[in-house]
Symmetry: C2
Subunit: 322 residues, 2 copies
């Protein structure tokens, strides 16, 4: 049997998974990479952990390659570039580092693209030719499949949904610009909206008992689930903003479906109900009723691991991703 | 020698062109289709004019097919659907009508896609794998090439740039929604902006001598060219809005270049200077300096005729469009 190592690289933690050719993820491990001071320490730790992981779980299988999903990566150059949440230099040649260390074929995908390919191969987007996947986590990322192909763009930046400007002169984003979608509709953005609403309005809310500093998007979700009016209003606002943004993207791509992945997408109807309402209300009439907005069928980390790993199988068997 | 008939269908006028395999457009004719009361009259007139045109110019060449660029068309179904500026029923089976009448292979493309393919094959986008073309005419349309393929979308609506919402609660659009890009940055939108500015401001302007009812976007252009401050301010405003919209699209597609075609694009620096300024100012820093915003190298009608016609050659020779 042959196996592939799929990796979902993150600033705080990096997830490893061993995947069979049929897409079964049979072993996982999380490496706490947040403790590393620089790229040398980061990769030394990661490589060591990978070796232990492989030795522990490989058994009789043949390890045939590595697929990596990573933020801020340049897929063509095989580098991580200006990676915001990593203690790294401007450009890190991650592909070469892995190839040199392990002597195996290595494939690199932007994390949003890795999750998109995972959803396409093994999740709810199977068989689709045109869809988008948007990851709602600390930030917002995603990927696009059009004409049955993953769209990469000239420099590998296609699908940077988080940096769509949705509010002129709006909230300051980590990218230096104002009003980006991820300052409103990520977990971080939802938390900010909650803090703003708690400050501006006087409605009673269980969220007022949580110190502002530690209030999280999960707290807002749990309060909304329990019927808290302010928390529900926060989700209504975030859902409405996302719905409008997705309807705007739809006139450009005309997708069959839009998938939402990541922490916020797990909020279910609390998010999807206002989102779908504003989506349909602002959609071009010709597209009305034709585009489904759905939660991902996979867990985000698993989708990215599976998608990255699938590149190795893809290349081995020369099957296209369409 | 073999020749193809390329057609650019419009509500007011329809353009015909005869094209050789090398892309040379050697004969053109404009048919005034605006006088027709319904689809029967429209196609009876058009077919008659096509026959006269072909007979006049064909010579010894063999006529091998027809390529049609048309607004509001469903490329998969081969129909015109809810075509806003035509006296047509809900759905007109244009592909079947042409095939039945002429007994030749017929190919149908959305007009924006036809212009995009024309630019790609014969214009400034030759050899590119990732670009967008946006047509700035009475309305706004366009097309997208990504991964070396024309992106069509699930229902053939991809690339409807004119209906990007750029102003919440903004101008009423023909599509029934508010704040669409084409209500601001088309020739029609530019004219409206001029009328608004003339009304709101008291600055002297040569445009004040033109009756409002007949003031056109061309008048605004000529005034701007002559240094009229109000006319220049109109182009500044429209250019800035376009620049912001294009920078927003760039984080989604990461194109090599964005081409502007159609009447307004011919305004040159008067439009492109403020446009490029606002484009670069609002672009994600990772993309800074990497995306050219350029005028089309072809005349709009010719691009659409050439692009539509090229589908016939494409299919005959099995050369892909990449």
């Amino acid at each position: 049997m042959e196996i592939v190592l799929g990796i979902d690289i993150g600033g705080t933690s990096t997830k490893l998974g061993l995947v069979r050719a049929d897409g079964q993820l049979f072993a996982q491990r999380t490496v706490n990479t947040g403790v590393c001071q620089n790229e040398h320490a980061f990769f030394a730790l990661l490589f060591q952990e990978i070796e232990i992981f492989i030795t522990t779980y490989k058994g009789n299988a043949t390890w045939v390659g590595i697929g990596i999903g990573a933020p801020s990566c340049n897929e063509k150059a095989g580098t991580l570039e200006r990676a915001a949440n990593f203690p790294f230099s401007e450009s890190v040649p991650i592909l070469k580092l892995f190839e040199a260390h392990f002597g195996l074929p290595v494939y690199l995908l932007k994390d949003g693209n890795a999750a998109t390919v995972g959803e396409w191969r093994y999740g709810a987007a199977q068989g689709m030719q045109n869809f988008m996947l948007i990851t709602l986590g600390t930030g917002i990322g995603g990927g696009i499949v059009a004409n049955g192909q993953l769209i990469k763009g000239a420099n590998g930046w296609a699908g940077e949904f988080g940096h769509l400007t949705i509010e002129k002169g709006g909230r300051k984003c980590g990218c230096g610009r104002l009003g980006c979608l991820e300052t409103y509709a990520s977990a971080t953005g939802l938390r900010l909206t909650a803090l703003n609403m708690l400050e501006k309005e006087e409605t009673g809310s269980s969220l007022r008992f949580i110190p502002k500093e530690v209030l999280s998007s999960k707290d807002v979700y749990h309060a909304a689930e329990a019927g808290d009016q302010v928390a529900l209003a926060v989700f209504e606002r975030v859902g409405a903003m996302l719905g409008t943004a997705l309807s705007n993207l739809s006139v450009i791509f005309d997708p069959e479906a839009i998938f939402l992945a990541g922490g916020l997408a797990a909020a279910g109807d609390i998010l999807f109900k206002p989102l779908r309402h504003s989506f349909e209300a602002s959609l071009l009439s010709q597209l009305s009723g034709k585009i489904s907005v759905l939660p991902s069928a996979l867990r985000l980390n698993e989708a990215a691991i599976l998608g990255a790993a699938s590149l190795v199988w893809n290349n081995k068997t020369l099957i296209t991703t369409s």
